[in-house]
Amino acid sequence: MDIIYTIWLRNIKRYLRSKSRIIGSLGMPLFMLLVLGLGLNSVVQIPDTGQGYFEFIIPGIVAMSVLFTSVFAGIQIIWDRQFGFLKETLVAPISRLEIMLGQTFGGASTAFVQGLIILVLSLFIGLSFSSAAGFVIAFLFMVLIGIAFTALGIAIASRMEDMHGFQLIMNFVVFPIFGLSGALFPISSLPAWVQPLTMLDPLTYGVEGIRYGLTGTAQINPAVCFMVLAAFSAFMTIVGAWLFRKMSI
């Protein structure tokens, strides 16, 4: 436990020190929130619930922040490998599982904080505070997304030689996960043949869970969302740990 904490602590220290990274990765979500959310708010009204578009996409943008930050945090172990620091950790009398879990929780924590910043900023732009319990539910889903996708990042990084493949991962893994998740549009308004793809996307359950917490409505039962996302997080952690253990330096 103390080893996991040590590695978590390093991640947090590095995160808090990289001010430019914190601000840099807020740019894109804030931009989307303002341009899409406020720009389309008067044009688009969500069918069934009658929600405004701004209120609708806030959970999606929060999930996006968590997703991007966590995948990136996971993939960062490639830097550690290239700059040699990973060796220092791997040669210590600790197990690789502990290292992997420390990295995962570290990445998930920073991703959660990034999502939280977006959430708090949205409160100022127009998100109405529903209930404390709702926020706790949203937080829970944010943490689960963070764990699942940091673990995914670590799994990918364990199989990657260097950062050259990063763009490929962003374009063919991360963006499709985001695009198909129903973060920007209601699942029910998609053509029938796309809907199954959406239901296969684990992020869908994260977005819907956060949406339930923040706005009180969701298209998928929040209990189902929780179970699917929790199972996916556990599964990704196991896969990530397994691949990380097999990785050679």
Binding site: D2, I3, T6, L9, R10, K13, R14, R17, S18, F83, G84, F85, K87, E88, T89, L90, V91, A92, P93, I94, E161, S248, I249
Partner: protein
């Protein structure tokens, strides 16, 4: 119980045998050097001994722990300074030390005391709260050595500890290493391709080439093996010089691009004889020098090559190893 015992340690990468059945034992308190050109298999040996790489064949133990069966025992017993830097530049020196201390489960109070002591030992206490990215190459090396000592290892591995450092910093580091060995009685195994480094620091040296140990002894005994002092004669006609050297006190004759290199005991006494002999035969001498043998001569003697000419191509081989190792 020896500090390190290796028996027929072997590692292959595909068709390439990086380390070929090497065996040695290192006693407690010894400074042992693995000397050889880049790509000779030094780092691969270190990687196997430190449990980072599984040997293809053979066995080894460190501080009594088997490197295959008791990895945690080995890891607790060793400290390593890798060839490539392994610090977190975004953390301060103190935080790097603290991280290491926590990984090795050193309790808080003792950890803080040890960190303070070691940072003082390597002269970094004034800069301990600065980020490592502001450090010079020499400071980083010193920090890595201090970090490697934090958990009081029995054996310290130094993989090319002074690579890329300026001569003054190198000298300082040598002093640190000697002091560590003397004061703490810590066993040190270091790899280097700097002859003077091996000569100055090591109690015993193993010369390693193409994955195998070709000679192993104290630096002095190794130098004695090549037959005394080294006399180098430059001449417009080196063949004639080599042909005329038939005195019984010449232990060894060798042609090295445009010059003739002789080994002999008490060279100073024989110089007049050599010069008069060459002059009487009308063979010109451009220059003549006498020096004590170095490990460079020893390497040349055993391999027929100079270690320095290996360095450029050796680096490529090393990269290749590195890639194949992944």
């Amino acid at each position: 119980m020896p500090a390190i015992a290796a028996e027929n340690l072997t590692r292959t990468f595909g068709d390439l045998t990086a380390v070929d059945r090497i065996s040695f034992t290192i006693e407690e308190g010894e400074i042992f050097g693995l000397l050889g050109p880049n790509g000779a298999g030094k780092t691969t040996t270190i990687s196997m001994l430190s449990t980072m790489l599984r040997p293809t064949a053979g066995k080894a133990s460190i501080n009594g722990y088997d490197i295959l069966r008791d990895q945690d025992g080995v890891r607790t017993s060793i400290g390593i300074v890798f060839q490539d830097q392994s610090l977190d530049e975004e953390l301060t020196a103190y935080e790097n030390m603290d991280f290491h201390g926590r990984l090795y489960r050193i309790p808080g109070e003792r950890r803080r005391a040890k960190i303070a002591g070691l940072l003082a030992l390597v002269g970094l206490q004034d800069r301990q709260h600065d980020l490592v990215k502001t450090y010079s190459g020499g400071m980083r090396r010193r920090l890595e050595i201090a970090r490697g000592l934090l958990h009081e290892p029995k054996v310290l591995f130094l993989d090319e500890p002074t690579l890329g450092l300026d001569p003054q910093t190198r000298n300082h580091l040598w002093e640190y290493i000697e002091r560590l060995n003397e004061e703490k009685g810590i066993t040190i195994i270091l790899t280097t391709h700097y002859m003077e480094e091996a000569d100055r620091l090591c109690d015993r040296v193993a010369i390693i080439d193409h994955g195998g140990i070709i000679a192993m002894d104290t630096p002095q005994a190794l130098k004695n093996q090549i037959g005394g002092d080294v006399v180098t004669i430059h001449s417009p006609d080196p063949d004639a010089v080599a042909g005329s050297m038939d005195a019984p006190w010449i232990a060894h004759i060798e042609r090295r691009d445009g010059s003739v290199v002789l080994s002999m005991q008490d060279a100073e006494q024989h110089i007049p004889g050599i010069v008069t002999g060459l002059v009487s035969r009308d063979i010109g001498i451009t220059s003549l020098s006498v020096r004590k043998p170095t490990l460079e001569d020893v390497f040349l003697h055993f391999t027929g090559r100079s270690i320095r000419e290996e360095t450029a191509s050796g680096r490529d081989v090393m990269r290749l190893y590195h890639r194949m190792g992944r």
